[in-house]
Symmetry: none
Subunit: 206 residues, 2 copies
DNA sequence: GTTGACACGTGAGGC
DNA sequence: TGCCTCACGTGTCAA
């Protein structure tokens, strides 16, 4: 029996099965033990809730090195990192596959023209991401105009759970200029920096 | 209140409680400021480590409802769930796309899918043009989503001397929904009705 | 004997 | 006021 988690694994069982609790009180006074704090039961409940949450979190993480509270969190951290990286890789792969399957030689000429014109006017590609609040982002994009680029952008962000609001799009001198508000539909799962890198990769892969 | 410790101190009478009593014996009425335990600092370090891990975990989760320890874990749990679902969806899409990429007329399938989905949801293609003043128009477009459609639209209007301002673009249920202000760069050479027919032709030819 | 991990009760401080 | 959250020092058990 792993006694370290005897309290955690105890569910809706009466808690006086825990002997340590009873044993720790001085019995030098007769009668029931008098507690000084009324906070006792609340604190007990709080601790149990936290432990339950920790166990719940642990149940989501597949790889477990230890049952320790600290290692549970460590494993969760690593797992979240892996998941995030996995999401990025997958969406990139998806993107590349889409790009490869749509490719046509005629569009490349267009792209070259766009690139030349951008250079001629001294327009630099640009990706700017600003966090407005937890699930809202403001982005500004400047990149080479290419057919289907905007659709691809919207599709990718939609897959990642982001919606475009307050969008403004302009093409000028071979460049696409986009400013928009990104709103995370289910809370926004990525950091601004991650979004930025993703957008960079999208605009670059076109 | 039923205390959990009313009679439990008596129902266990094993002999090793003697040594516990002996161990506890030197704990008398405590001195003024004398720490009894040697593992005080160790415990302190352990607590701090756990808190740091919790904070580190929190830094990975984008949506934060509260700084509480419990809510940090709750948010992490929900976030992990979202990520897992996201990975599942993405890999599904990737798989589906791999299967679809074996066929050659892929873009047509996309178009057919979009058309079907629009029909399923009862979405009708729509072109609305309203003159605001001599060189300003407001347009609303609903048409089948197709790769490069938006870019083509912008290019055409640009050639005709119109610029997009205050553009809003959304894709939903296989449809492209666009509302925008068209501003004639050199005064606006076309009437609203002509623009409407032109837009109809563009959306139809895609 | 030592070390690490845990739950416990308690007081402080925030809303 | 009272409830809630936290850090603290401590006792207990296992490796």
């Amino acid at each position: 029996m792993n006694s370290a988690f005897d309290d955690l694994s105890m569910n809706e069982e009466e808690e006086n099965s825990n002997e340590r609790m009873a044993r720790r009180f001085h019995i030098d006074e007769e009668g029931p033990v008098a507690y000084k704090s009324k906070n006792l039961v609340a604190e007990r409940k709080r601790r149990q809730k936290l432990s339950d949450r920790l166990l719940e979190l642990r149940s989501l993480v597949p790889i477990i090195t230890n049952m320790n509270k600290a290692t549970i969190i460590i494993d969760a951290i690593r797992y979240v990192g892996e998941l995030q990286k996995c999401v990025g890789d997958l969406s990139n792969q998806l993107l590349q596959m889409e790009a490869a399957s749509v490719e046509e030689p005629k569009m490349q000429i267009d792209a070259i023209n766009a690139a030349e014109e951008m250079k001629k006017w001294g327009i630099e590609p640009e990706v700017k991401v600003t966090q407005i609040d937890g699930y809202k982002l403001w982005i500004k994009l400047v990149y080479e105009k290419k057919r289907g680029g905007f659709t691809r952008l919207m599709e990718t962000m939609s897959v990642l759970g982001y919606e475009f609001t307050d969008t403004s799009v302009t093409t000028s001198k071979g460049a696409f200029v986009i400013t928009a508000c990104l709103e995370g539909i289910n809370g926004g799962m990525l950091e601004a920096e991650q979004i930025r890198e993703l957008l960079l990769e999208i605009t670059r892969s076109m």
